[in-house]
């Protein structure tokens, strides 16, 4: 499968990365080169193979339902959460107005 400029433009839009026409043109052969190379995986017979889910055999641990048990994973830290925000007002993050 190879991509054209329209496809790359669509992917870039999905990924929310603005690209100029010039960048698009440059990206097409680059991405096609990489895609053509990874497509050699298609020659591997995987008909009886399960996709990998856990690289090291391990099961999912669950935690207890306790609020703020560890300050690193709990809430109640608005200052820390907003400290790096480009725009924070009245305890909220600010973003350009969204029309729903």
């Amino acid at each position: 499968m190879s991509v054209d400029t329209a496809t790359v433009a669509k992917i870039a839009s999905l990924a929310r990365i603005k690209v100029s026409e010039g960048e698009l043109e440059a990206m097409v052969p680059e991405l096609n080169g990489i895609l053509a190379w990874v497509e050699q995986l298609g020659e591997v017979d995987t008909s009886n193979v399960e996709p990998m889910t856990a690289v090291i055999p391990n099961t999912l641990r669950l935690r207890d339902d306790v609020v703020d048990a560890d300050p690193l994973t709990g809430g109640g830290k608005r200052e820390a959460v907003l400290a790096n925000a480009p725009v924070a007002e009245h305890g909220f993050y600010g973003v350009p107005k969204v029309i729903e």
Partner: protein, 498 residues
């Protein structure tokens, strides 16, 4: 199939409805963080570093949320998947800090199940109907945007980000707004019984995405629209009604239905296309590499099952079969878990206070709760939860009736005073002198006086004019100022008159 049809210019249209209900899982902490889930906190005060998607933060699932989803699945007799996985649903929006929602697409925790909605002739549901439930999966809630606080900005509050939701996906088995309403109500009832969701629709703990399509009888399914986040039973019904009509109008005027996301406006009762979600999404789901497969062990599942309460259908059947309640009363009392719990405490208290078996006082308790207390609370504009009359006090009152200490009419008076003062029944009965006379000696004395004063009528009675029995009862009661126990009066009169 319901008989609900839309009469269009070109004929009758059937409506096909499926609901995706998002129910907030009852838990103290969030699905993947230790931040609190409480409603109504100051903005961004219940946000952990991971909820704000700080670089390098990782999710660890909350066991209680998993447990509640499993219990809910069991309550709808669903397949519980011992192997499930979390997947990422990728899209960009200001209420979604990670840029993806952790959900379950490929391997949900709960598979196929169902629930039964009850026949309701008035609502056009001729008989009980089983509605299929395709799956339940666990996922993260998103944050909240405020659009009206600033002229050019929207404000973002992440308190809800990461709160655990169950998405309960029905089959498109409903064919009328009433069926959809009944399904949602029943689902809410079950969730509240299980305790996995508080069902507070006005706080957003439960909301439905409504999938609607229309078709002519016998034709394949039409294109559906999805109306998002409808947050009451009534609104769901309105949204369906409006959306189905709109679709019929579009189709009959030669148009086509666009598969799209719509928004319900409760003020106008209409739906409209959602501009911000217009572009077709490609969510690029893939298994979340931060989380391993979730394997449920047998003892965990057994614990979940053992902790399930008696569910509404079973309870209703028991009320009818063991307690002898009418189908209507059983249905009213089991419709909400709080009512059922209240009733059962009332029944236990009544039985204890009166020294009778529950089945002997159950009808009395059910009738009193439904026709007396509900009415009185309604008049006061209050609810059972806040009722000044507790089940204990109610039980005492009912026991006084059962033991013959007060009459039914006196009981009404006692209830009114209880609601006003909060005093217990016995105190009120004493204070107001509402006790009825059950002392056979005192009643006999009165009866003797009445019979002596009415020898002619006694003779007539003995000659066969048995209708006069009521006269003697009336006279005795009158003489006792209404406080004679009618049962005792009857018995004594019967003996004396031979």
């Amino acid at each position: 199939m319901s008989n609900y049809r839309i009469q269009g210019a070109t004929g009758e249209w059937e409506v096909v409805i499926g609901l995706e209900v998002h129910a907030q899982v009852t838990s103290q902490a969030k699905l993947f963080s230790g931040a609190a889930t409480a409603f109504g906190a100051e903005p961004n005060t219940q946000v952990a570093l991971i909820d704000a998607a700080m670089p390098g933060m990782l999710p660890v699932p909350n066991k209680e949320c998993i447990r509640q989803a499993v219990r809910t699945g069991m309550a709808i007799n669903a397949q519980i998947n011992k192997y499930s996985r979390f997947d990422r649903k990728n899209y960009f929006y200001a209420d979604l800090p990670q840029g993806y929602q952790i959900s379950q697409l490929y391997h949900p925790i709960v598979g196929e199940g169902s629930l039964t909605i009850e026949a309701d002739a008035k609502a056009g549901i001729p008989e009980d109907k089983v509605i299929g439930i395709e799956r339940i999966h666990v996922e993260q809630d998103a944050g909240k945007l405020m659009h009206d606080q600033h002229p050019t900005m929207s404000y973002v509050d992440l308190n809800r980000v990461g709160v655990a939701l169950m998405e309960i996906v029905s089959r498109p088995d409903m064919t009328s707004p009433a069926e959809a309403g009944a399904y949602l109500s029943k689902l809410r009832t079950i969730l509240r019984y299980v305790g996995s969701c508080d069902g507070n629709m006005d706080q957003g703990s439960m909301r439905a995405d409504v999938n609607v399509s229309v078709r002519k009888a016998g034709e394949p399914l039409g294109t559906r629209t999805e109306t998002k986040n409808v947050n009451s039973v009534r609104f769901v019904m309105q949204a369906i009604e409006h959306e189905a009509m709109r679709q019929v109008d579009v189709l009959e005027s030669g148009g086509q239905i666009v598969q799209e996301t719509r928004l319900f406006d409760p003020n106008s009762g209409t739906t409209r296309s959602m501009r911000s979600k217009e572009d077709a999404h490609d969510y690029r789901y893939f298994p979340d590499p931060d989380l391993l497969p979730l394997i449920l062990e047998d003892d965990f599942l057994e614990d979940c099952r053992a902790s399930l309460p008696e569910l509404p259908d079973a309870k209703k059947a028991r009320y009818e079969n063991e307690l002898g309640l009418s189908a209507y009363n059983a249905s009213v009392l089991t419709a909400d878990v709080d009512t059922a719990r209240w009733f059962e405490r009332l029944l236990a208290e009544t039985a204890k206070a009166s020294g009778k078996a529950p089945a002997e006082v159950s009808k009395q308790a059910a009738n009193w709760l439904i026709s007396e207390l509900f009415g009185a609370l309604n008049k006061l504009g209050t609810s059972l939860e806040e009722s000044p009359v507790t089940p204990e006090k109610g039980g005492d009152l009912l026991a006084l009736i059962a033991k013959g200490t007060i009459s039914g009419s006196a009981a009404k008076q006692v209830l009114e005073i209880m609601l006003e003062t909060g005093d217990d029944a016995e105190t009120i009965v004493e204070r107001e002198g509402l006790k009825q006379e059950s002392d056979t000696g005192a009643i006999e004395a009165e009866v003797d006086k009445i019979l002596a004063a009415n020898e002619d009528k006694v003779a007539q009675y003995k000659d066969g004019k048995v209708a006069l029995f009521g006269f003697f009862v009336g006279q005795t009661m009158k003489a006792m100022k209404g406080k004679g126990n009618p049962q005792v009066v009857n018995e004594i009169l019967k003996t004396k008159l031979g």
